[in-house]
Symmetry: C2
């Protein structure tokens, strides 16, 4: 089956592909907010119907949370599983959006046309690049070049509580030789990249409780312990003056990167000043003496994702609050053990809470880092295919973000993942005004058509 007519068909049918993506983007499938549960179900139904339209035997599969979508189709020498997620991040602060986040539009920008909407890049737009590549293959040849299992999740942005049980219960059905995942980005503007190592993620929520009720800060201030004071003292103790994380044992299992890979990374056209400058910063915040790329791809972190306590509205309230909370996440690398770090973190926090205050913890996921076996010839095949589409050599890179599913595919299904994607650094995923470049969507579809061809031979 030849590739060229598939690529030609992709070019000719791009407007219809964009229309389909816009329809999916109109569904506000925010998984972390229970108010949007029906929207998540609607997005799953939409995807299952679309897969059936191109010949997959596809169905929405219930879970205790938001549903999965599973589809089977094609035939060939290789069996591949494609994974993407149809859920999206919350949209607050809404006031910073230039348009309603679930009323997508194609806008002109100084750097070309963009699709503007929550989820345009993360991950609906990326997910649809693969679906559209399949549609083109089927449209031209009547079938797919490989045996394909499609697997879409709806809880990726909310810690994937149903994922592990679902993988375990359906392991025989879902197991393939290799997973393809489209949830990463280009390196720089136009260098295609295959992510071969990903940081893990440990998410913790701490709530410190002091007095039984909110108090008047004049009547009790000075004598009654303030939970914001306890919490800020704890958070401030989590980094030392050199930017290292102070949780005991935190760096156990953190490997230095191999010299060859370090050399490859140093060869990439990465401008740390421009990377930080693009978001209004200039001083690397990580461990002293480390490259910025190293901080992002191969060093662990401790971040504060949210904090709240007392009166945060307009004006002033002289309250001594009863409680204060923080959401804390750790990005993990190499062989760091999320569960051991969680215990060590909690013990450290408990030791800093005064005897008459209380602390409660809530877990928001714990997944280790992932490293892929790049000796599988699919990696070299995909690298060649991507290089051909983008006109420059594709790179093996690391990723600062966590894609826990890649770890679960390894531990539960015994398969590695080939992660490639077409997002750009300025896509503002997880932020207001998320966008996906039309060019990335188009070339992304073409890229997957080529990768399918290369891997299936």
């Amino acid at each position: 089956m030849s590739l060229d007519p598939v690529l030609a068909r992709i070019d000719a049918t791009l407007p219809a592909a964009l229309d389909r993506l816009m329809a999916l983007l109109r569904i506000p499938s925010i998984s972390t907010d229970p108010a949007h549960a029906a929207d998540c179900a609607r997005a799953a139904e939409w995807l299952a119907a679309d897969l059936r339209a191109i010949g997959f035997n596809a169905a929405v599969r219930p879970t205790p949370g938001h549903p999965m979508v599973v589809g089977h189709g094609g035939a060939g020498r290789r069996h591949l599983l494609f994974y993407g997620h149809y859920d999206v991040q919350p949209v607050d602060p809404l006031s910073l959006w230039s348009r309603p986040p679930f009323e997508p539009a194609i806008e002109d920008s100084p750097r070309g046309r963009v699709i503007r909407a929550r989820g345009a890049s993360d991950d609906k737009g990326q997910l649809m690049t693969f679906v559209e590549a399949c549609r083109a293959w089927v449209g031209v040849h009547g079938t797919l070049p490989a045996r394909l299992t499609m697997f879409f999740e709806g809880e990726e942005e909310s810690s994937s509580p149903s994922l592990v049980p679902f993988l375990r219960e359906n392991a025989a059905e879902l197991r393939a030789e290799l997973a393809l995942i489209c949830d990463t980005g280009l390196f720089g503007d136009d260098t295609p990249a295959i992510t071969t190592q990903l940081r893990g993620l440990l998410g913790e929520e701490i709530t410190v409780t002091g007095p039984d009720m909110d108090l008047h800060s004049g009547h009790y201030g000075g004598a009654a312990m303030n939970p914001v004071r306890v919490l800020t003292r704890i958070l401030a103790a989590l980094h030392d003056a050199d930017g290292r994380v102070t949780v005991p044992g935190f760096y156990d299992g953190v490997d230095e990167i191999a010299p060859a890979l370090r050399a490859q990374w140093r060869g990439l056209a990465f401008d740390a000043r421009a990377f930080l400058g693009a978001v209004g910063l200039s001083l690397p915040a990580g461990e002293a003496g480390r490259d910025v790329l190293e901080m992002l791809w191969s060093r662990p972190t401790c971040e504060f994702n949210g904090i709240s306590g007392g009166y945060a509205g307009e004006g002033f309230k002289t309250v001594l609050p009863a409680r204060a909370s923080a959401k804390v996440s750790f990005r993990l690398v190499s062989r760091q053990d999320p569960l051991r770090i969680r215990e060590s973190f909690r013990a450290m926090v408990r030791a800093m809470v005064p005897a008459d205050c209380k602390v409660a913890f809530r877990s928001h996921g714990a997944s280790p880092a992932s490293h892929m076996n790049t000796a599988d010839p699919a990696f070299e095949g995909a690298r060649t295919a991507l290089s051909a589409e983008w006109g420059r050599p594709a790179a093996f890179v690391g990723a600062g973000g966590s894609i826990p599913v890649a770890g679960y595919f390894q531990s539960i299904l015994g398969m590695d993942s080939l992660l490639t994607g077409f997002g750009r650094d300025d896509d503002q995923i997880h932020s207001p005004n998320e966008k996906y470049d039309v060019a990335c969507f188009h070339k992304g579809i073409r890229s997957w058509a080529r990768v399918l061809d290369a891997i299936s031979r």
Copy 2:
């Protein structure tokens, strides 16, 4: 004019007095929230009308913010000004209230009947004790025992932005020999108290801005500075290990209390363990080596009244926030200079903000501590009157809360204030389920009738 028939009339008309208080409590006059501006105006109109009903020449007086109420009435040897505030604190978290905060009711409690509503104690119930005492005097004798100026404010819970200009513009009209203020409490359950020293208050809001936008904590975490990290480091540095405030020069002008007053305070039946135990705490949070009463009345503090940044909703969001804010207040004593401390605080904060982050400050008031001249015979007269009503010796005490108006009366009008009030420690002012004991309301009215009699002779 004799006192006894006035007290008898107060006893006989208590139900009507309670009805009037309930009417005032139904008006949700939350001054800090612009959505309640009309309610504040309504409360002012209600009070002016009530004063006119008992013979005062009273009017609502506009300001750039919420209006004042000023009334003149009575005649006699002395000219007194009575001050109270008709605005109330916000009610959040609403879910912790046992009944709607602006639908007052009289409830039975294990310790007697209580009036339950926002403002029942602070300050509508207290304010009305004085109004009702005047009503009884007028009802029995047709006039008041002294020349009285009534002065009610509607911005006490939101930093009183209009107070100083109004006092300056109307100084000649408002100046009296002594102010009476009813916004404090009993000592313990039943010891009447005259507050002769009050802490001042400096309110500051800090906002730290890092990146230009919220970032994905995976894609930027480790390299980009997190404003929550900057803010928590600053807040954690504001107290040392002994609970002392670390702002340079903070303790300049802090006097040790006089030995005689210290002896009087030590003689009060104050149980620090019970005081903290009542709100679920046990360990004094202030400076090591100080008594709890000293921490509350004569030592300065730094409190965190609110903190916010990033995602604080349900679930988890792997965001690296663009900004984080905290509301910080300092209780001031003796001769501490609020403006010097503000500058020192801001300089300390600025020095802790990384060069590529920004910090902005917003002022929420700056008032020094107040000390009254207890040599004025009105103080001894009031002490005798209160002792008679409550059946135990009234005490001169300090107050941890700030009543900035007492300081402004000194600095702008040149008059001291006699502060007494009938709140109890468990009134939960500024908290959900605020209440005022019916017994305190009743004996409070009787107390003012006696104090007016004693001071006017």
